[in-house]
Symmetry: C2
């Protein structure tokens, strides 16, 4: 095998690793010397929208960063106004979603709790007659009842041709932990009268992802059987914002640093006030025995989401506990990105959710 | 269900999302206004070592950032010196590894190619008598023969109690693509005389991860059966550095921006010069049909590795093609982090690799 003739060629990875990469035209200025504790200061690092995004995804990220479309709510000091503001945002997501995915929505009181029951307009698939999904919506434990609810339920109901029950659980500031866990358990108890737990899956995004994980802990405490599978989306099994993404997600989405300049953890949502940091009913990752009892779990997030690092870590923790765990993230996408059904990234996420739940629920 | 009395509480996620997070004491200065195209400039963003790392992992990241232990090689203009430099680094990893994992190493020529055959000191496990792993080492297609080789093979040989054949393939600058693919295929052909392909798995890190993916394309072209599973570690199925991590990994490991200030893709390694950007034999992700023919694939990386975003994207592409794909990343870890066996994160990665290969190879 004769050598290929040729001059010495450009940068190789080993050398790039060793030297920190070749100097390139247009590079940013040299960074400040790192602190002795390994803290790096990102000065002059310019990050364009990820080239791995679809045109629609890149446009949505640009919209978030430049136009700040979700700003402007009155905040928690006017809870009625803030909920109305967030509901308007959710209805903005719902409008194209309802055109794309044909469903019926019906209000039903289940286990004493108000729910929205979402069913596909073209009927439940034969293999899903005895199966059901339970959705726990996002909105920071504060907003999203009956609106984020539908945003999270409509695509899966239509794509899987399955019934989705979305819970209008009690929220902050009127209620605190564990009121929502109690409501989820009340609905779950009622659903168990009709469905085999091996044919039930639970999922939610953001606060709803945290609540999904908390529900597994709560069910176990109550002696309820675990469901077939769960989807912890836009969240983790512990604190929602830790590690690198807690620091970087804010700046990378055009906002102030999300977690404070030194990466201090984001303050927990008000709903969680009073819950102990080491309480597995609040933060299931605190208990190794509880983790080992988790059902198969799917994590969905994006690299510019503040929960990204925590979700990645929960995926490893669950895997180490011997639990079937799957992780999917989209480069450049942010917290709750898949609420926008008009991006290929969102629809790819729905397809992964659908396949995961279908493969883990008994027929 | 009476309302919990209580005052309005702190930041909720919905509100944090809407406003970009609450202002916090000690926050960095407000960022510069984002560019109209959505490019953000990270000025004053301070990123400490991830709090999700083990003490050993955090110490290793700090060592990389502050002490720059892998700098100082002569570079490609002195290829002999550069290889010696990299080999010294690899022997530094090997020393504690050989103490931790007892193996025998034997040089064997297989299919005309020099290999290191690594076997567990306490014997091959009964269930692995008819199974074998093939390793394709990292080192930027330039360095690492017989050294990075062992760093990647010793832990799995010992942990799984299985034979690992590590290939000393032809490298740059003496050779170019597809010389290494030819060498891998030559070894694979010879191994197929003794082993069922359903009992063979291939894996590698960095250039070796790229080569593992390229091998699947090459085998298909040559009409060779595919192996049971592959591990694409520290790499992707396409270009190795794309998206957010290509821009951020350099600054986040205390080096200059890895991909140029505007996120321009890292220059490909010299070995790949001459390979077309759209050639699936070089970048398998270019062909949807090829992707769909991939065996079950495991990706292993870290959030501060330049390949992180590309690997995450390949995982989604493979999943969309209907292929069994698994992704594990460690927050705050960097390119090739698991070469350092003295961190829990590395040993957690070995355990995931071992379980993945074991579960996909026929008994």
């Amino acid at each position: 095998m004769p050598p290929v003739s040729g001059k010495l060629l450009g940068a190789a990875i080993a050398v790039a690793l060793a030297t920190g990469g070749p100097a390139q035209p247009g590079s940013a200025t040299a960074p400040a010397a790192p602190a002795a504790d390994g803290t790096v200061v990102l000065d002059g690092t310019r990050v364009p929208p990820s080239r791995l995004l679809s045109p629609e995804g890149a446009a949505y990220l640009r919209h978030l960063i430049v136009d700040k479309p979700f700003a402007g709510g009155p905040g928690l000091s006017d809870i009625v106004g803030e909920r109305a503001h967030q509901d308007r945002i959710m209805r903005g997501f719902l409008e194209p979603m309802r055109r794309r995915y044909a469903v019926h929505v019906e209000e039903q009181r289940i286990g004493g709790v108000v729910t929205d029951v979402v069913t596909p307009a073209d009927g439940i698939a034969p293999e899903n007659r005895d199966r059901v999904l339970i959705n726990i919506h996002g909105g920071g434990f504060v907003t999203g009842g009956r609106t984020a609810s539908l945003v999270e339920s409509v695509p899966l109901a239509a794509l899987m041709r399955i019934k989705v029950i979305s819970i209008d659980y009690r929220m902050s500031p009127e209620y605190r932990f564990p009121a929502a866990s109690e409501d989820v358990a009340a609905v779950y108890r009622a659903v168990l009268k009709q469905y085999d737990p091996a044919r039930i899956a639970l999922y939610g995004c953001s606060a709803g992802g945290m609540l999904t994980a908390q529900a597994i802990a709560w069910f176990r405490k109550e002696g309820l059987p675990r469901p077939a599978a769960i989807g912890v989306f836009c969240a983790s099994l512990g604190k929602i914002a830790e590690g690198d993404s807690a620091v970087l997600a804010g700046p990378l989405t055009g906002a102030r640093p999300a977690g404070g300049a030194e990466g201090a953890p984001r303050r927990p949502p008000g709903y969680m006030t009073g819950a102990g940091d080491d309480d597995p009913l609040a933060y299931p990752q605190q208990s190794a025995a509880l983790l080992a009892a988790f059902p198969p779990t799917l994590f969905i997030t994006g690299t510019r989401a503040f929960e990204f690092s925590a979700a990645l870590n929960s995926h490893n923790r669950l895997t180490a506990a011997g639990v079937e765990s799957r992780f999917h993230g989209w480069d450049g996408m942010f917290h709750g990105f898949f609420y926008n059904s008009e991006m290929p990234e969102a629809r790819e996420a729905y397809a992964i959710m659908a396949r995961f739940f279908d493969s883990h629920m008994a027929r």
